[in-house]
């Protein structure tokens, strides 16, 4: 069973690598990343700007930019990868062929999830390296910490953003399984992305709801956004053990999102008539 899961994961990874839609999306990701790197360069070099982290470019500027890229845009990419993984295979009947094989359905969904998760990991790694090189080209050496500290901070950013991406990946897979109309499935996934990342996390939305239901709701509602939860963890990366009580609730909430979305896609894949 483990071997089958592994084979499906490898096949999924390979399919995603050679998928032309994924190539389009990766190109879009690079364009967005370059625009953002240029924008960061533009803002950091504004004459009147006050740097709250001290004058000049620092690695914390870079890590903030990187976490924004990986969480804000990487989650959108994850939605599209989730859609490609289920809907396009459904259309081309490869998914149908796969579920007629003597395999448990959970082996198929496990393989798919692992393949997509590894692919997202690769995309994030490539994106981080490209983003770092863009920053270095535009702003020179930005690393003002010992290299192992910098690497540790980067790994924390990568890991937390990967969890965020997995939430949207499995949500998108779930929607692609339960919605037969492909256009509706992708746009429903994109709407969930806009709602969770653009609306729930927005301060004025949370403030409006806080004004209606009581001010203690403001923080709670803003904290429901996966991106806000992730930023709450990342900002403690300088002392993860010492600041543990400050961000543990964020870790629990983020993991709850992940578990719910994965369980939903599991249930849908097991019980739904895929064809």
């Amino acid at each position: 069973m483990v071997n089958n899961t592994f084979q499906i994961a490898v096949k999924e990874f390979d399919n995603l690598l050679s998928n032309r839609f994924i190539i389009i999306i990766f190109t879009v990701y690079i364009i967005i990343m370059s625009i953002n790197a240029y924008f960061d360069y533009f803002v950091i070099n504004l004459p009147d700007i006050i740097h709250y982290e001290g004058a000049g470019v620092s690695n914390s500027n870079f890590l903030n930019g990187l976490s924004f890229i990986l969480i804000y845009y990487g989650t959108a990419i994850a939605v599209i990868i989730g859609f490609c993984s289920i809907s396009i295979e459904k259309k081309s009947n490869t998914l149908n062929t796969l579920i007629t094989k003597p395999l448990y359905r959970d082996t198929v969904i496990n393989g798919k999830l692992i393949g997509c998760a590894l692919f997202l990991c690769l995309v994030s790694l490539l994106a981080s390296m490209m983003y770092l090189s863009e920053w270095m080209v535009l702003m020179g050496n930005i690393i003002d910490l010992p290299i192992y500290t910098f690497l540790f901070d980067t790994i924390v950013v990568l890991l937390v953003s990967w969890v965020c991406q997995l939430i949207f990946l499995s949500t998108s897979m779930f929607l692609s399984i339960i919605i037969k109309d492909d256009v509706l499935a992708l746009f429903a996934g994109m709407f969930i992305y806009i709602f969770m990342i653009n609306i729930i996390s927005n301060a004025s939305f949370a403030l409006s709801l806080g004004n209606i239901f009581g001010s203690h709701w403001t923080g709670f509602i803003a904290g429901l956004g996966p991106d806000n939860l992730a930023y709450g963890i990342i900002k403690n990366s300088n002392d993860l053990i010492g600041n543990y009580p400050g961000y543990i609730s964020n870790v629990v909430n983020l993991m709850a999102y992940l578990v719910i979305s994965i369980v939903l896609s599991y249930i849908a894949f097991m019980r739904r008539d895929i064809a």
Partner: protein, 262 residues
Amino acid sequence: MSSAIFGIAKNEFSRCIGHPLVIGLTIFLCILALIVVSGNYMSIQKSQQEPIDSNVLFLDITSSSIYWISSILSFLSLSIGVVSMAGERSSGSIRVLLSKPVYRMEIIMGKFIGINSLILLLILFVISICIALSLIAFGLPSAFPEDILRVLSLAFLLFLLCAIFTNIVLLCGVLFKDIYTSLILSTSLYLIWFISWPYIWTDFLKLINPVLLYLILIRDYSNTHISYLNWVSSILPYITYMLLEILAIFLINCYIFTREEI
């Protein structure tokens, strides 16, 4: 307008208005408007500060919800555009239309008019809900006629933005027979235009990115220190630019569609 164009437009309108995305997103926007207006109302009730000018309040409420309304409605225009052209081409139902005695240009024009009249109706509906809720909560503003003119201009600008989106998605549908290519390209375009560029406010980029141009044009919408006429005269050249952009993409659509083998 010929009866063929009118017929296609009517068919497109009635087909899209019942789409689950249109219904769902319209309900969502109404709820969002209710949250924004109620939130503002409760905040003013609780605050101990001097009363705010009703005119400023009215414009602030519409402008505070306009970014969400714009992002959701342009997203909606994108999805309707995909369903309309790429969806029909992919399912082959456009062949039925092509076998009828209509010019291809009439098909494109009919689809364009049908989708955009639906978008216009949705914009007016959502903005009317915003205005109605605001009037119920805060009463009539001091300069209501001018405020209504401002809101209508805002609705027109939003309509132009959505028309650019639908036109580009129609172009994707005309260029690519495969629905997935159109879908992925349209979504990518939305990500690049709506999600990434609004943070970069430079003069050159606003000519390439309609979302950026739109956000710059509505910047002074709620600024009561600038009179309505001054605001409109400052944005008029850009409105002409947006109209020309729509016309240019429409002509490209017609040119490609009339020459292509379906």
